[in-house]
Amino acid sequence: MAPIKPRVSVEYVGGATVLTFSDEKILEERDIQELQESLMSVVEQGEKLNLVLDFRNVQFLSSAVLGLLIRVSKKIYERDGELRLCNISSRIYEVFKITRLTKIFEIYPDVESAIESLPGE
């Protein structure tokens, strides 16, 4: 069976939904589109979602992924939810810094600290 890409895994920890990207590279437009559909389906499950996106496996991404994160973030905050990013490699963190997206995303070193920062945790 052909592997399903882009792969994500979802885990529920307390009141938080932790979504981990499985792929090392997130690049292709089709992958990003599918990823957006997966993420939006999680976000649209309910109001006040506490979502943590775990980048531990991601070593490379394009600016299209940054666009996807902005769309997801807007959707979450429209629904009174919270979004945290974590486990971002130093190279990818540099991309966030260059684009000043460190100003709009809350980025934590690991899943635990990201969850602790969420309201009610």
Partner: protein, 151 residues
Amino acid sequence: MPVSRSVVISSTPLAIVEVCKQVLVNLEAQDFSEEDFFAVHLALEEAFINAVKHGNKMEPTKAVKIDYSVGADRIEICMTDEGEGFDPEVVPDPRYGDNLFKPAGRGLLLIRSYMDVVEYNKQGNSIRMVRFKEKEKEKENTSKSAAKIKA
């Protein structure tokens, strides 16, 4: 020995994958660093997306021409699309104001951040990008620092 190649690919997202692989193999052969791989890979991807989306308007029959040369101390890439071209000076800065919250418009900023030389032809449909080897830059910085200390 520097390696120079010229390829013409279709305006489909997957077409750049093989070119990236070839470029990265050549960088490795010339002892470029992981930082260089990341930078060049990102610049290639972003330039190609711009060429396909904004230049060739997603028409798969239109071509993108890529010329690159990898030498001992630098990589130079020229990418040309079949579009009308644009003025890179009027592209809004995605880091400020409402642009910060827009999902698109960061490609050129990233290219400029990761490549040492970025310039367009007059028509605006061809980008030339150069990156100097990270290790060579370190050597240069070290010798500049040493010169300052001596002075």
